[in-house]
Every structure is written in C-alpha cells, then in structure tokens.
Symmetry: C2
Subunit: 291 residues, 2 copies
C-alpha cells in the first residue's frame, strides 16, 4: 500500500507517492492554477495523482490514504480549507471534492506547517522525540508542536501559530494586524529588508565577513534566540528544528543560536536546536502521512 501527498502552495503544487517505509517513490511539481477556484485545483491534483500511480504501475486500490496540505486555517475533521488567502480558498471543501474523484480512498486535509512538523516527526529531524517543535522560516513563520508524541492542534483545535506570538510589543506591524510578532523579526523577510538583498545573499556575505551583513545577522540571532527561548519556557521541548531557506546557513547559524538560546532559556537547559531534514518535501510527505 502507498500514500499520496500534496502540498498546495500559491505558486506550485507538489505531489508525491510514499511507500510503506515512507520513502518517496514518485513525485511531481505542477503550477498552481491561479484564480481558478478549488474545484479546478482538486481536478488538477486528481490528474496528477492518476499520472503518478500509472508511472508506478499502481492503481486506486493500492492507495491507503491521500493527504492535502494547505496554508492557513483548516477544519481537519471535515477536510475543509477555511481560509488560505494566497490560494483563494475560503471554506473550500477539499476532502469532499476529492472524494468525487477517489471515492474509496480516505482523504485528509492538513495545515502545511503541521504537515511539515508531522513529516519531520515521523521521518526527519524530530524522529524519536516526544516533545518537539518545528519552525519553518520563510517569508513568514509557520510551525507545529509535538507534545507527548502527538501533533498538538491547540486546545480549541484552531491550530497554533508560533509566528504570531508577540516578541516586541512596539515592533513592526505584522500582516495579522498586531505589532512585533515573531514573524516580523525572525522571518527571511526581516533579513532581506534589513540587509537590502535576499536573505541568502545577506547570510552569505555575513559568512564572508561583510560588516553590515554581519551586523544584520547578529541582530537576527538575537531576535530568533529570544523567540526560541520563549518557546522553551512555555513548551520545554526536547528539540526545536528549523526549516526553510535560512536553516541552510549551517553551523554559522546553529552554533551561536544554540548558545544564545541556552543562555536566555529560563531553565538553562541545552535544548537541541537543529536544522530540519526534509527540505521542500516536508509538507508533501506530512500530507501523505496525515491520519
């Protein structure tokens, strides 16, 4: 039996088939059909799934489950994408729609940050840890928390949004309407704006010793380490994994960051701060593994 996963982003849809050992046996990336509505998006995903199955000499009966990861608020119980602005989904019943095409396959819809957390937990950087956090650092910051060996969906099942905790009461205005959210001070966007180049370029130049970029990078470490230390006083996790482009900076990022987090963490405990392992496939893998 195999599992199918989709990670639906505003630019591309990633699709993949996972075998019983959670290995990717086939994958494909297609353009997201902008402004065409959820029905057309689901139709396109269905076509892709058929093609991938054919490629693997499999058919519908070989599929254990199909998962769809989308940004924003999700009604997990009913498989509805409640609000995903960059996809144009508002109360889009993705599960119901996909069921029209694959009536015999269990369909799951999951928030993309949660999917990535689930993937890292099942086969990536968080594997074997019962209490763990993943933060994905990109344009914004998404994340997920594993508590006691289970993905934590929030007490009222709204999900959790670690990127929107307040880090600086009078900080920059956030897309959510508040000021100084973690996202405004710890995203790749912050690095790019402060360093007047894309985040990768700023970090690369900082590595080479460029004083202006190094200053931006050091300030970034201060911001991010305070955000992570705050998570440690609230969740006290064994490990925090960071995904997204920024996490590719390697030891240049993780060594000073780990030191600072330990120093700032109330319990002075050496929390493991590590790079995520599954890269851009995390959302798709997590979608496939959703149950």
């Amino acid at each position: 039996m195999v599992r199918i996963g989709f990670d639906v982003g505003g630019t591309n849809i990633k699709a993949g088939i996972l075998d019983d050992s959670m290995n990717i046996v086939a994958k494909r990336m297609t353009a997201f059909p902008k402004e065409s509505g959820y029905r057309k998006v689901v139709r396109k995903m269905h076509e892709t799934a058929r093609e991938l199955l054919l490629e693997c000499h499999l058919n519908e009966g070989d599929v254990k489950s199909l998962g769809i990861a989308v940004a924003g608020a999700v009604d997990v119980a009913n498989g509805v994408s409640i609000k995903a602005c960059n996809l144009g989904f508002y109360n889009a019943p993705l599960s119901e729609e996909m069921k029209q095409h694959f009536p015999s396959i269990p369909i799951h819809v999951i928030n993309d940050a949660y999917a990535a957390t689930l993937a890292e937990f099942k086969k990536g950087a968080l594997k074997g840890c019962s209490n763990a956090i993943l933060l994905t650092i990109g344009t914004g910051i998404g994340g997920g928390v594993v508590l006691d060996g289970k993905l934590f969906y929030g007490g009222m099942k709204h999900g959790i949004e670690p990127g929107h905790a307040t880090l600086a009461l009078d900080g920059p205005l956030c897309t959510c309407g508040n000021r100084g959210c973690v996202e405004t001070l710890c995203s790749a966007t912050w690095i790019a704006e402060k360093g007047k180049a894309n985040a990768k370029a700023v970090i690369d130049r900082a590595k080479e010793g460029d004083p202006a970029c190094l200053e931006v990078f050091n300030e970034y470490i201060e911001n991010l380490s305070s955000a992570l230390a705050s998570l440690t006083v609230l969740f006290d996790p064994e490990i925090i994994a960071l995904g997204g482009g920024v996490s590719l900076a390697g030891r240049f990022l993780f060594e000073p960051l780990g030191e600072k987090v330990k120093q700032k963490s109330f319990f002075k405990y050496p929390y493991k701060i590590v790079p995520a392992e599954l890269g851009n496939d995390a959302g798709m893998i997590g979608a496939a593994l959703a149950e």
Copy 2:
C-alpha cells in the same frame, strides 16, 4: 479521608485540611522560619499538621495525602525543592524529610503556581475545562497550563514559566537576566512603578478617573492583552484565569482586557478571560490535591 496542604511562602506558611469534597475544614497561617533551613521548616509544618488534625479530631490514619507547594523549580518525582531562592531551599528533599514525621502518608511536592492551577482546575475558575491557563499576577508572574485535562509540566518536565516569555525584546531587565519578559510588563510591580503607588491604589484611582493612573492602567491593558493573545496563538485554550491582587479589579479590568485579547488573538476567538476564584488559598488547596 482528608488531605493536608501547605503553601510555603517567604513570609508565611499556609496550612489546611481538605475533606473528600475538597472543602477546607481547618486552616492556619504561621510565620515562615527564615534562615533556619528546610529541616526546621518541615518540623514546623509537621507540628502545624498535628495541631490541625487534633483540632478536627482526626489522626494520621485519616490522611490520604500531604502536599507541599513551594516557589521555584521542583523535582516532582523525588519531592525535592531544587531552587527556591526566597525560601533558602536548594535541593531540599522535602518529601524525604516529611516522611520521617509521617511515614505512612504519601507526600507530594509541587511548584506553587502549578498548585494554584491544579486547585482552580479541580474546584475553581477552570473547573470542567480541558484546556486552560492560570496566570497569578503579583510581584512577579507565575502560571500553569492544563492540556487535555492534565496539568502540563513541560516536555522535559522542567515546568513552564509563562512570566518569562519575551514580550518586549528591548524591554526592562528581568530578574531572570533577559529583557522584556511578560513579568516585567504585566506584574503588579509594573503598575506600582509606573503609577508611583501600590498597584491597588493605582487601579482604584484609575477607576475614579484620575488621568495619570488611567493612562498607566490603559497601558497595562495593552501589555497584558498582548501577553494573553500570545498564549492563545500557542496554546489555544478555552479559558484563561487571572489570580493575584490585580485580578480583584473586576469588570474594570476584565471587560477591556477580554475585548483586546479577542482583537489581538490570531483566531479572533472569544477566549474566556476570567478572575481566579480561590484567592490566597489556591496554592494550599492545590498542594493538598496533588497526586
């Protein structure tokens, strides 16, 4: 069967006996014997317990359990007060010591903020809620979180410290060494310093319309609502109860606070923000109920 609870503070020790219905049947307050070491403190607690039992015509055999609430880090499994600076306890084996006096009674040692949370959860403002938070606002800020019907001790069992999450990256220096912790901007101490009087006086004058005190109070609401909104994006609780003197301000505090939290909370959900119900007895009651 009854339960005995102690709340050991730097000024006083509160002791009480709870019946099977969690009602207080006897209680007593005694001075904390400063600088005398944990052995003498435990001896004094034992004497008080004997007196209370006598008063209720009970004996050791009627006692189901005895709990001790102390500030700071606690090794719950071994009943050790790891670090409680204001009590002078450092790796104090309170459970072992109390066992010398009451060999047949199960002894529990618990952090005081956790004890208060447990008490509010079992018989106070959080009763019947599976996902809830208590913040006790005083000189500092302590708190506890109930997740899925259980007190959450943190992933690595260090406990959690909601007063030491960062709220203002460049804010005032905190006793923990970081800047801008929730505690530095949301404690009664903040109100007192800003209002140049004790917190109660500042709030009372704000109620009467004193412009300077009203300004302090409104700024306080901004600070506290951001702290609570941050907790909602991370824990998504059904309810948050506030204890400590500040919470006695009533609707004058809770009405604007509830509005602001809803407005700032990412999910725009009307989280219940309510006063705690058990007042100064919460720690003692929770200690008695510890299991």
